[in-house]
């Protein structure tokens, strides 16, 4: 297989314009002859469905939740970036492009990132017109804030609920198209297979989660917007239904998986407090603007924070990174917290937490100021932990948050299967090895509103389609396979629950393939995962039947895929013998403990091709060519 990124020729700023001109167009009257399947209703899926329907295509949209409005994008808090330069602080499309490429540790494709920065401004226009209530200045114009360590204020936000508001905007556009009959909405459906006919993606097989029926849906193209796979770690800040199933099934049908080992760990989450813990809650990064991170100097110090004198505290971020202090990037902050805990200096019942202390800020600015800035976050913290962060320091710990990897796509967002497009967090993305704050929302909406409507037309207009009905043998075979898998899961009737397996898988992944990775650890993890997977198919207990609403069965299918996918993630981590962004291999670090890239050997995107059950996948490499930016080493000292 040859990976062709299809990057248009010409100077960077003109590539997208030129490409749009070169793409074939579908005659308006013909658009209604095409059926497009969109899986997922997060920012990417909802925006794509609505935009495609507005153009006149027939769209069928699927999601797992009972309503498209509940997709995981709803949970995003902080904001969305755009290069509007409203604050007049020197921003530009070029700068947003540059920051994103650099933030991604030079592992993203220049042309895609530049396009992302270009369309970012339209996104804001579109969302405002939809009624998204972004924060405003007194004069009534849009407000911006700086976010995630950026030196500019380019983040648009709607309180701490930006993702919710953007998603509700896209959802409302989607609902409008449902009302007009151009979108048929299929909620409570889980895509369990992709149907490929004559090398083209022509449909999906999905389970109706209420009736258990295995349904067939045919179309001329399939657009996957199914989000990230952070839940392979079991505990993450992702919603419980987030899964890898849709993309992994597509991988098994021939779509290459790009950079699966690029995962992001967020430093400020509420720590784990028991084995029963089901998910982790993110506390906005903005807290690090005023909170000071510290641990006791002596390992095993069990005293209450208030009883530990100043001299016996280690403000380790301030100590190690005097210029950035508590505001070092996500990966650096996360790794340092882990390092302290590994040295036995962690705090709390589990020893897996560090303090985030606001007492100095409260002393300096007064409680009222802090309350105004972070009141809702403090409240949320208290709700969950039962502790008052005004009185005692917060405890935080890093948690899995975002996955930069995903299905490999070309400049058109098409995977290695013709007619299979992948948008949003589900693709291997524009974020390289590390995503900057507030840019996932931007990417999801860019893909859905402003990229797919053009690129899919080029494909449809330029391809020949055989007539396909849903009784085609490819559908029948797929349904049979899906059915057999369901039957198999139910038939094991073992002695361990699905969650129990998932939890164990998560622990293995977190311990060996989390913030810092070693070759030995990865090798051990791979073996453990193989064992665990074997045990899963011998010993899992899935109650109930496949013919009705069965949440255990849903989970079991997802965990079964995670079990296989985890191994792919580890293979990728083992293959990438360098450190970059979210992938940190202990063997490759600078003297300052920063990720040390190996641009000579690893300046590429890894794309893994499935070659059959029980066989190792094959690695393809898309070389990344940087013509416009200079590759540098990050430093935050």
């Amino acid at each position: 297989m040859r990976l062709d990124a299809k990057i248009p020729a010409g100077p960077l700023p003109q590539k997208w314009d030129r490409h749009r001109f070169e793409l074939k167009l579908v005659n308006p009257a013909n658009k209604r002859k095409y059926d497009i399947i969109v899986v997922g209703t997060g920012l990417a899926g909802a925006s794509a469905s609505a935009s495609l329907a507005e153009l006149g295509y027939n769209v069928k949209t699927f999601c797992i939740q009972d309503s498209p409005r509940r997709a995981h994008s709803i949970a995003a808090q902080g904001g969305i970036n755009a290069a509007k330069n409203y604050p007049n602080d020197g921003d530009s499309i070029w700068r947003l492009f540059y920051d994103t490429v650099k933030g991604g540790d030079f592992r993203a494709r220049e042309a895609n990132v530049y396009r992302l920065a270009q369309v970012s401004n339209w996104i804001i226009d579109q969302c405002v017109a939809q009624g998204v209530p972004f924060a405003r200045e007194y004069g009534g114009l849009l407000a911006n804030r700086s976010f995630g360590g950026a030196q500019l204020s380019r983040t648009f936000y709607a309180r701490g609920q930006t993702g919710q508001q953007l998603l509700l905007g896209a959802y409302s556009a989607l609902m409008r198209q449902v009302a007009s009959g151009k979108v048929r909405m299929f909620p409570r459906r889980e895509m369990l297979d992709l149907v490929v006919i004559n090398g083209q993606a022509r449909g999906i097989v999905a389970r109706n989660l209420v009736s258990g029926e295995i349904e067939r849906h045919e179309g001329h193209a399939v657009v996957l917007c199914t989000g990230g796979y952070g839940n392979v770690y079991y505990l993450s800040t992702n919603a419980k239904a987030c899964n890898v199933t849709a993309t992994f099934r597509a991988y098994k049908r021939g779509a290459c998986f790009g950079n699966p080992c690029f995962t992001q760990i967020h430093p400020t989450c509420i720590p784990v407090h028991g084995t029963y813990q089901s998910k982790l809650t993110l506390m906005s990064e903005s807290l690090r603007n005023d909170g000071r991170v510290w641990v006791p100097k002596t390992p095993g110090d069990q005293r209450k924070p208030s009883q530990i004198p100043e001299a016996e505290r280690d403000y380790f971020l301030e100590r190690k990174y005097p210029s950035f202090g508590n505001l070092v990037p996500r990966d650096v902050a996360s790794r340092n917290a882990k390092e302290q805990c590994d040295q036995g200096k962690g705090v709390g019942d589990t020893g897996l937490a560090v303090f985030l202390d606001f007492s100095d800020a409260i002393k300096r600015d007064g409680r009222a100021v802090i309350e105004k800035k972070y009141g809702n976050l403090f409240q949320m913290y208290e709700k969950i932990t039962g502790e008052d962060p005004y009185a005692t320091p917060m405890m935080i710990y890093p948690a899995v948050h975002y996955t930069m990897g995903g299905l490999w796509v070309d400049y058109n967002l098409m995977s290695t299967i013709d007619g299979l497009y992948v948008l949003g967090e589900a693709n291997f993305s524009d974020h390289g090895a590390n995503r900057l704050g507030a840019s996932a929302l931007m990417q999801g909406l860019a893909d859905g509103y402003f990229v797919i409507p053009y690129t899919i037309g080029g494909y449809l207009a330029g391809s020949h389609f055989a007539e396909v009905k849903n009784d085609h043998s490819a559908f029948t075979d797929s349904v049979k396979e899906v059915q057999e898998r369901v039957t198999k899961l139910l038939a094991v009737r073992g002695r361990r629950t699905v969650d129990d397996f998932h939890r164990q898988l998560g622990l293995v992944m977190w311990d060996h393939c989390g913030m810092a990775r070693t070759n030995e650890g990865l090798t051990t993890a791979r073996a453990r995962i193989q064992e665990l997977r074997a045990e899963f198919w011998q010993n899992v207990r899935v109650p109930g039947t496949g013919r009705d609403f069965n949440q255990s069965l849903e989970k079991a299918g997802r965990v079964a895929d995670f079990m296989e996918f985890a191994e792919l993630l580890i293979l990728d981590a083992l293959a990438r013998q360098e450190s970059c962004g979210g992938h940190f291999n202990d063997a490759y670090q600078t003297e300052e403990n920063e990720a040390r890239r190996d641009d000579a050997n690893f300046c590429h995107a890894a794309a893994w091709e499935f070659t059959g059950e029980g066989k190792d996948p094959v690695l393809h490499k898309e070389p990344l060519v940087f013509e416009n930016v200079h590759l540098t080493q990050r430093s935050y000292k």
Binding site: R136, S172, M175, Y276, S278, M380, D499, D500, R541
Partner: protein, 254 residues
């Protein structure tokens, strides 16, 4: 500090829409007070699974109070007794050792039960389809700062927009009315200049759609506002009423 409590759950079990349903009693033993309510149900479900019984079906997704998926009645209160809190954010430290909890699905004619505690709230989507949007095609939007929005108006729009669509307002309302939910969307869009062109049509058709879904009428009991996990105010209902009257009696919209 965390401790361990034991509870008795009286839970509604119903195999499917056709089933009559019944209450079942299950013990919830050794529940850490640091658990969330849903984690407590997870623990009970793990136990049921190992005992070869069917686990209790309940809905959830984000588990951080924003997606609006979770929600059941706990001792007669939608999302439990804590103010401004979704069920997933309710922690067990708010219960005492030995408590008996009655757990029922949200009930309304417009919310048929799917299984156990899971109900079908698609009626809320149908109401939005009737007009809970601004008709702007992708690419049609003018520059974002073209229309200024006074900050306090934007804030009030945001107050209304904070609705997570959980449907607890309906569940808690003695009349199973969806007015708070509908009014939140109508208000958000009515407050913003971008939403004004369609305001009349929106108010009329959303109210019509709401009635067609079989929700009850608002008697101003204000249970919704007290229950709402996002503390959406009934000021929005008054605004919906005003928008409706303007639309019905003054505008040319039918």
């Amino acid at each position: 500090m965390s401790k361990t409590i034991h509870l008795t759950l009286k839970i509604w079990r119903q195999n499917g829409p056709g089933d009559k349903g019944r209450f079942e009693t299950h013990p919830a033993k050794n529940i850490s007070t640091d658990m969330s309510f849903l984690e407590m149900l997870d623990v009970v479900n793990e136990q049921l699974t190992l005992e070869d019984k069917e686990p209790i079906a309940f809905e959830h997704d984000c588990r951080e109070g924003i997606c609006g998926t979770c929600g059941t009645m706990v001792n007669g209160r939608a999302h439990g007794q804590l103010k401004g809190t979704t069920l997933c954010q309710l922690h067990m430290r708010h219960f005492a050792d030995g408590d008996t909890l009655v757990i029922e699905p949200f009930r309304a004619r417009a919310y048929p039960v799917i299984k156990d505690l899971v109900v079908d709230r698609s009626a809320l989507d149908r109401v939005i389809q009737a007009g809970g949007y601004i008709s702007v095609n992708t690419g049609n939007a003018p520059e974002a700062n073209t229309l200024p929005v006074p900050q306090d108006r934007a804030e009030r729009a945001m107050d209304a927009a904070a609705c997570i669509g959980c449907g607890a307002c309906v569940a808690s309302c003695p009349n199973a009315s969806a007015m708070l939910f509908v009014s939140a969307k109508v208000s958000q869009l009515a407050l913003l200049p971008h939403g004004r062109p369609e305001a009349a049509r929106r108010a009329l058709s959303m109210v019509r759609a709401m009635d067609a879904c079989g929700f009850g009428n608002c008697s101003n009991h204000r249970e919704c506002e007290k229950t709402c996990p996002k503390e959406i105010s009934i000021v929005n209902i008054a605004r919906l009423n005003r928008e409706y009257f303007k639309a019905a009696f003054i505008s040319q919209e039918n």
